[in-house]
């Protein structure tokens, strides 16, 4: 038998440190949330509401949930309003690896009437301000199939 031909690159001789290459991908299943991401391509903002008549909460969730956290009953899809206000905002100067947005992109959290959550997203145009009215825009042409397919612009 021959010795293996694939060698690890030596990062440092003393002390000995080697590089372990990683080049594979993960198959990620969105499962019950898949419809939300597909909805973005149809310019729809799909939220979820509990269908249990006995549930006392019945909030509108966005990000959506497949099952109600208050009664564990199945949820149904409901289109959320496509306008909201900026609850908070920031710009990340030193993002981590995998960051796909242009440098200087404002990150925002969005309050939407009737929705019990404050969706994290990004502002595609304009300068963010607390309480600023914004509307949703969708990346339907060349979708990334991630949450980045949703963005907001001043309303």
């Amino acid at each position: 038998m021959d010795w293996p031909t694939t060698a690890l690159e030596v990062f440092s001789e003393e002390p000995l440190v080697v590089k372990n290459p990683k080049t594979w991908y993960h198959i990620h299943s969105y499962g019950g949330w898949g419809k939300f991401f597909q909805g973005l391509q149809q310019q729809k903002l799909l939220a979820a509401r509990c269908t249990n008549p006995k549930c006392k909460e019945k909030r509108l969730w966005l990000p959506p949930r497949a099952d109600c956290p208050d009664c564990w009953h199945a949820m149904e899809w409901v289109e959320a309003p496509q306008v909201g206000t900026i609850y908070t905002h920031s710009v990340v100067t030193y993002p981590g690896e995998l960051f796909k947005l242009p440098p200087g992109t404002p990150l925002i959290s969005v309050e939407i009437d009737g929705v019990c959550t404050k969706l994290m997203s990004w502002l595609k145009e304009g300068k963010p301000k607390f309480g600023m009215k914004i509307k949703a825009v969708f990346n339907a042409k060349r979708p990334t199939h991630t949450i980045l397919d949703l963005a907001w612009v001043p309303a």
Binding site: S12, P15, V17, N20, H28, Y30, W33, E57, R59, W61, P63, Y87, T88, H89, S90, V91, V92, T93, Y94, P95, G96, E97, L98, F99, K100, L101, L107, I108, S109, C116, T117, K118, L119, M120, S121, W122, F130, T146, I147, L148
Partner: protein, 456 residues
């Protein structure tokens, strides 16, 4: 709305008293290429067993151990699944039972909680808790990406791939609601880096000014580099025991009066408004003017319900009526300056909206009313994540035992790590402290533990 039922706020109790008897640390560095992870863990265990004035020799100690708890945040970083099995073997504890605990940044606190549960129930009576993180196998940028995969990867990780960004969104909202001068936040960074200056274990010590912090480069607006915790390699060990075993091991055991956990949604987005959960030192009147133009919800983005929950349970369990009055030392999870101010409010040092007063009053400083992060904290000394919550309790234990100088002031401790003890070193040993508190915190507040250590 979160509505508590009668069982939800039950105060935990230990069936048997739980003690901590000894602690050990490595130094903390950005990179540790000359030592593998098992060596780091052995080094911390050796310090716990050999340098804490135990009344038994290491071999006798080994014969007393009956359960081990391991604490590592991310398999991503170590690139070794089931790493605890390997560490357990290298530490020579086979074939004893062990368990590995994982709750993000609060892993260390949760690991001590798991050990305490084992001792309190009678399952075990001598339990080493061993924590580490090896964050030097990838670049800082990839490291931040790994950490951000502990945010929701479906709906939030993509928006920054950087935890500082998620905290920055909270910070901005906190500032909108409470308008704390950036100078106050900067003083936390200055304080903790200065306390790290007196510690041979520290990674990023320094004598900085408020101006240095304010002028420093921004990571995610408004947080500067100097306001963010370090990314470390290192290990920490704490020995947990029942009362009888504790007295066999040491003349100076410290009781773990309480350690309790709380949680909240991984996504800050999903935090629904609810009534403020009141601590023993608060009443409804405390918050009669709290909500208004800028503050419409609680916990919102300004408060950590998990920290409030953990403190609520631990204070009731340990009989704490007023934390500033009843505690003598505090170690917070100062991952960012802003989250430290938020935590002051969550654990009742000041009512919500007034956290800055804890810094501005001078109470948080050495020789103040409640010195905080005399260890140097996460900003100055270390954040080798799986070791962090354990490190906090090791430093508290040494303070309560009066051993700060032994572990921080001996010039040999400095030369051991290739450092020289500063000529202007000063002792941060608190004067006869009786009770200390440690807050271990994960995510943007997904898990928090609150531990109360008390000198009998």
């Amino acid at each position: 709305m979160i509505k508590f039922g009668p069982g939800n706020l039950r105060i935990p109790r230990f069936e048997k008293p739980v003690y901590v008897v000894a602690g050990g640390l490595t130094d903390f560095r950005k990179k540790h290429p000359e030592k593998n992870t098992s060596q780091l863990c052995t080094e911390a265990l050796r310090m716990a067993v050999e340098e804490n004035d135990l009344k038994v020799d290491p071999e006798q100690f080994r014969r007393m151990v009956n359960w081990v708890v391991y604490s590592q945040f991310a398999d991503h970083f170590g690139d070794q699944l089931l790493a605890a099995a390997k560490i357990h073997d290298y530490l020579g504890f086979d074939p004893l039972g062990n368990i590995e605990v994982k709750t993000g940044g609060a892993t260390g606190g949760s690991a001590v909680l798991a050990a305490a549960q084992a001792v309190a129930s009678g399952y075990a009576d001598c339990v080493p808790v061993v924590g580490w993180e090896r964050m030097d196998e990838v670049t800082t940028k990839v490291g931040n990406s790994y950490i951000a995969s502990a945010a929701c990867k479906d709906f939030e990780s993509e928006l920054g791939w950087m935890y500082a960004a998620y905290y920055a969104l909270m910070a901005q909202r906190y500032q909108y609601e409470n308008n704390v001068p950036h100078e106050t936040l900067a003083r936390i960074a200055v304080k903790n880096r200065l306390y790290a200056y007196y510690s041979p274990f520290s990674q990023n010590p320094g004598k900085y000014t408020v101006e240095d912090v304010l002028k420093n480069e921004i990571v995610a607006h408004p947080l500067t580099f100097l306001e963010c915790c370090v990314m470390s390699v290192g290990a920490a060990v704490l020995i947990v025991a029942d009362e009888e075993t504790a007295h066999k091991l040491t003349d100076k055991p410290v009781q773990l009066k309480a350690i309790c956990g709380g949680s909240h949604t991984l996504r800050t987005a999903d935090r629904r408004h609810m009534p403020i959960l009141l601590l023993p030192n608060e009443t409804e009147a405390t918050y009669k003017d709290y909500f208004g133009k800028h503050r419409q919800d609680w916990p919102g983005f300004s408060s950590f319900l998990a920290a409030r929950m953990a403190a609520y349970l631990a204070y009731h369990m340990a009989g704490i009526k007023d934390p500033v009055e009843d505690l003598d030392l505090l170690e917070t999870h100062d991952a960012f300056t802003i989250s430290d101010v938020q935590t002051y409010e969550d654990i009742g040092l000041r009512p919500y909206g007034r956290g800055r007063e804890f810094i501005d009053s001078g109470e948080a400083y050495f020789e103040g009313k409640l010195p905080t992060n005399l260890s140097g904290g996460l900003i100055g000394t270390m954040h080798a994540v799986g070791a962090t919550g354990i490190f906090q309790m090791v430093e508290l234990l040494w303070q309560l035992q009066g051993k700060y100088d032994k572990f921080h002031g001996d010039p040999k401790m400095w030369t051991r790590y290739g450092k020289q003890k500063p000529a202007d070193w000063k002792s941060l040993q608190a004067k006869n402290p009786k009770r200390g508190c440690a807050i271990s915190h994960a995510g943007t507040g997904s898990h928090v533990t609150c531990a109360i250590l008390e000198k009998p």
